[in-house]
């Protein structure tokens, strides 16, 4: 145990989140560590071992949070400490160390040892209580043990339920802790998260600087996540709105079945793009295990237009005319040269004209020609780019709404996410002024053109504004 303690004893700030079972310790750690993989449950003992959550920047640890099991036999621990020879206050932590040493193999105190070990290795104490339930004197035993540890400490009032007993708790906790703060890991905003870190930085003078660094790092990270989210949404918009699905058809016109099949494949692809984009957003915000309840993107009412086209050697009629004319002109030029200039380039002119007109007139006949048993022509049915004027806004509304819900979601939440009212948001977040800027890009995509860089920048800016307003 001591060797482990030594390993932990590095120079960065460490905080052990401790308390009674089921008071939201893991939720707080999950929220502060931005990690939704932490097991959270209403069954006591969900956390069985201490787990360190280091905030690392380029591999360097800035601070570390420890999630710990709750106190199980606090009275017995305190009783053991009290039974030792009386020592002065400065030696009390040695008695706690002696307890750990004496009971390291005692299964009865497994949880207590797990939670006391990081504290004795220099971690600050973050004592968590549920302030939605009344205070009870049984907590004093735990607080007394923590006082024996002699480490800087603060208490967090977590409001798990509806009732509010914060005043009761504050007057009791004030006797044991330097600082008492309210923090609801389920509802906490990013600003509240930063404020809590700021409070933690005040626990010990040496910790102020690294925690300030951590705050700045996390603020930068938040900004990057916002930018990456917008980038992801814009990329998906560009990809979706310019998407063209092509389907080889046997003959013109396409049969209703071919048309139905290709439209269904087109819709499927658009839905896949959206799902992929959502996954990307979830991964940007470090939400890896989200279950969603959402309305699927409905494309049944969106009119999809199909276009049929034919090609020879993969060249459209226009391309074939250029090819024919060029080939004819080059051939004619050869004849001109052979005549030593006497033809006054008539060869090139005639060759070009014959080649071009021939390609134009003979396109349909050439189409039927077979080379090596294979027809040189092919016919295709294409769907897209999306021509529906309202569709881009539906898609944008959904994306922004989803991204904002994910961005604001605490990592301590384990319930399913409900995304079935995105239509309301579409109207709320994209006003007519924004539409003007967005429409420029949508228009180009509808025409299968690439938007200019400046247009895309303006597009991103508008989306950024609406996204930030949703995050407030």
């Amino acid at each position: 145990m001591y060797s482990n303690e030594k390993k932990l004893n590095n120079n960065y700030p460490k905080f052990a989140v401790v308390g009674h079972p089921n008071k939201g310790k893991s939720s707080i750690v999950s929220s502060l560590a931005l990690d939704d993989s932490v097991q959270i449950g209403d069954t006591p003992g969900t956390t069985q071992i201490k787990r360190g959550f280091p905030l690392k920047v380029d591999g360097k640890i800035i601070y570390e949070l420890f999630d710990t099991p709750g106190f199980q036999r606090a009275r017995r621990v305190l009783s053991w400490l009290n039974d030792q020879e009386p020592v002065s206050a400065d030696k009390r932590s040695d008695v706690v160390r002696a307890f750990i040493s004496a009971h390291k193999n005692d299964e009865r105190f497994r949880d207590e040892i797990e939670l006391l070990a990081p504290i004795m290795a220099g971690a600050g104490i973050i004592y968590v209580v549920d302030a939605s339930k009344p205070y009870g004197p049984e907590y004093e035993v735990e607080m007394e043990i923590l006082r024996w540890c002699g480490q800087p400490s603060m208490a967090i009032l977590n409001l798990i339920g509806q009732e509010d007993y914060r005043d009761q708790w504050k007057s009791a906790l004030g006797h044991y802790f330097r600082m008492v703060r309210t923090f609801n890991p389920i509802k906490a905003t990013f600003t509240e998260h930063m404020e809590l870190l700021d409070s933690m930085s005040q626990l010990k003078e040496e910790w102020t600087k690294p925690i300030k660094v951590a705050i700045s790092v996390l603020e930068d990270l938040q900004e990057q996540k916002v930018e990456q989210s917008i980038e992801s949404i814009v990329n998906n918009m560009l990809k979706t709105l310019s998407f063209v699905y092509t389907y080889s058809i046997r003959d013109e016109p396409a049969t209703p079945d071919e048309e139905k099949q290709s439209k269904s494949a087109y819709r499927e692809k658009i839905i896949t793009y959206e799902k992929k984009q959502e996954k990307n957003i979830e991964s940007i915000w470090n939400h890896r295990s989200i279950e969603k309840i959402e309305n699927a993107l409905v494309l049944d009412n969106v009119g999809l237009f199909s276009k049929e086209s034919a090609s020879i050697f993969g060249l459209s009629q226009q391309q074939l005319i250029i090819t024919g004319a060029s080939a004819g002109a080059v051939g004619g030029l050869g004849i001109d040269l052979l005549l030593g200039g006497g033809s006054f380039f008539l060869g090139s002119l005639i060759g070009g004209a014959v080649g071009g007109v021939g390609a134009m007139m003979g396109f349909d006949n050439l189409y039927e020609v077979k080379v090596l048993g294979q027809s040189i022509g092919s016919r295709e049915l294409s769907i897209g780019p999306m021509q529906n004027l309202n569709f881009p806004y539906i898609l944008l509304g959904r994306s922004l709404y989803h991204a904002s819900v994910i961005a604001k979601r605490s990592h301590a939440i384990r319930e399913n996410i409900n995304l079935d009212n995105e239509e309301f948001f579409t109207e709320q977040i994209i006003d007519s002024e924004m539409r003007k800027t967005l429409e420029k890009v949508h228009l180009k995509l509808r025409k299968d053109e690439k938007p200019e860089e400046e247009e895309l920048e303006a597009y991103k800016k508008v989306l950024m504004e609406s996204f930030l307003s949703l995050l407030k």
């Binding site: 560590a33 006591p44 956390t47 071992i49 690392k56 339930k133 930068d220 090819t323 040269l337 200039g341």
Partner: protein, 470 residues
């Protein structure tokens, strides 16, 4: 390792694109890579090249870019050779002198000056043109045709997918640059043909036109064309006398006798024609080729940084990697399914002992009053009580015991220790654990809280203890 000024080539461009198609690395890996190559921080292109070299082996499929480059160079070599040969034979054709009609220099000038100037002009216009025209030019991109036709016959998707990697702008530069090279080779062929014909044949040059052009006017025009070399090489500008002598009228039937007498002088035209070819068809073309090479390189480097995935990679390189995850994997806690074993819904009005865990005596009295339950002995345990006090309560309890607990506080092992002690007491027949809600909720507990108590009590496997769920 790349130097800080490594040039991007089409090969490295394609290899990076190919690598990014297969592998983009995580933020952590990419940032670590950037930190290891700290000296390249301000040189993103070099950093990308180094990254590509490190990861290209991950491309599992046969390299598409290799076959593309092979096709590109084969095609380039073929067209280049063809252009040179075509230029050479075009020159031979233009300078063919049968001994009857002399070679018309105007016709040669058309190929050595007018067409090159026109095509140079068109190339410049296309380079400065917008996207629509550049798209039009991409149709002329040689591989566009090869890829289409090959793709049709041998389903050559390799080339097709590679071709998509190039922007229309880059294709335009590639095409224009290669066009300049092919034109240059054509002009070199033309010049060599001129020299060859001059050396191997006795060519009589003349100028002939239907238009009424006086020799002096024609001289002025030729002198104007020859300004670039007129000062340094005056012998390469035909004199007025030579121009007068070599004016050829087809309707005259035969060659002018004066022309025949001055045949050696007529041959002096070749110097002028050679210089025209050298300056207009070769030198200017060479300059444009250099300019397009430069433009192509610039565009390639610009597009290199716009390749799909590069923005993410550069961001990963630049942005500190922040991680907050635990290193230790958490063991998943198996939660037993809820059953009704050892659960009772009945609460009697009288008990021999009522014990309250973590309650004060006042609170216990209030609860009893509220629930209208009575007992001979009321005790509180847990909280600030000592183990001895708790032990005494457990040992002195008898018959039916009601044990109040705070429903919102989950059962700790401290409680279990006490309960086990109570259950060991043979005088106790039955213990009913009654989870109570807060006073504000009139001691009503909620389902979720009671479920936790049920699971804990069921886990003890004792038939003496029950959980009250009312």
């Amino acid at each position: 390792m790349q130097t800080k000024n490594s040039k991007i080539s089409i090969k490295s461009y394609l290899l990076l694109s190919e690598t990014l198609d297969e592998y983009r690395g995580t933020h952590e890996e990419n940032r670590l890579f950037a930190l290891k190559h700290n000296e390249l921080t301000d040189h993103p292109k070099e950093m990308l090249l180094t990254w590509m070299q490190k990861h290209h082996f991950k491309v599992t499929q046969t390299s598409k870019s290799e076959s593309f480059l092979h096709q590109l160079s084969t095609l380039g070599n073929f067209i280049g050779l063809f252009s040179f040969i075509f230029g050479f034979f075009a020159g031979i054709g233009l300078l063919s002198y049968s001994g009857e009609a002399p070679v018309n220099v105007i016709y040669y000038l058309l190929f050595a000056m007018i067409i090159p100037l026109l095509s140079i002009y068109l190339s410049i216009i296309s380079l400065l043109s917008n996207q629509t025209i550049s798209n039009f030019f991409s149709i002329f991109f040689p591989l566009h045709w090869v890829e289409k036709i090959l793709g049709f016959f041998i389903v050559n998707e390799k080339v097709d997918s590679i071709n998509k990697v190039f922007s229309p702008e880059l294709k335009k530069w590639m095409f224009t640059s290669r066009l300049q090279l092919f034109s240059l080779l054509f002009s070199i062929g033309l010049l060599l043909a001129l020299l060859f014909m001059v050396v191997s044949k006795d060519i009589a040059f003349s100028w002939s036109t239907t238009l009424q052009v006086a020799p002096v006017e024609f001289f002025k025009l030729l002198a104007c064309i020859g300004i670039p070399w007129g000062e340094s090489m005056p012998s390469a500008i035909p004199s007025v006398e030579l121009i007068e002598m070599s004016h050829y009228y087809r309707l005259g039937g035969n060659l002018d006798t004066q022309m025949i007498q001055n045949a050696d002088k007529l041959g002096a035209w070749w110097k002028y024609l050679a210089m025209v070819t050298l300056f207009y068809a070769i030198f200017l073309r060479f300059l444009l080729w250099l300019a397009t090479r430069y433009g192509y390189q610039e565009q390639l480097e610009k597009d290199f940084l716009s390749l799909d995935g590069v923005a993410k990679l550069l961001r990963d390189f630049k942005t500190p990697y922040v991680s907050t995850e635990a290193l230790k994997v958490e063991t998943h806690l198996e939660i037993a399914e809820e059953t009704n074993e050892q659960v009772t819904h009945d609460v009697s009005k009288d008990y021999h002992n009522i014990i309250a865990w973590n309650f004060s005596l006042d609170e216990l009295t209030l609860v009893n009053d509220s629930k209208n339950i009575d007992s001979f002995f009321l005790n509180t345990v847990g909280g600030n009580h000592s183990f001895k006090e708790d032990q005494m309560v457990a040992q002195e309890a008898k018959e039916m015991v009601l044990l109040y607990v705070k429903s919102w506080e989950p059962p700790t092992m401290d409680f279990v220790d006490f309960l086990e002690e109570l259950l060991e007491n043979k005088n106790v027949y039955e213990v009913k654990v009654y989870p109570l809600g807060t006073a504000a909720r009139h001691y009503e507990s909620n389902e979720q809280e009671v479920a936790i108590w049920k699971r804990k009590i069921q886990g003890l496997k004792s038939k003496k203890v029950w959980v009250v769920d009312v």
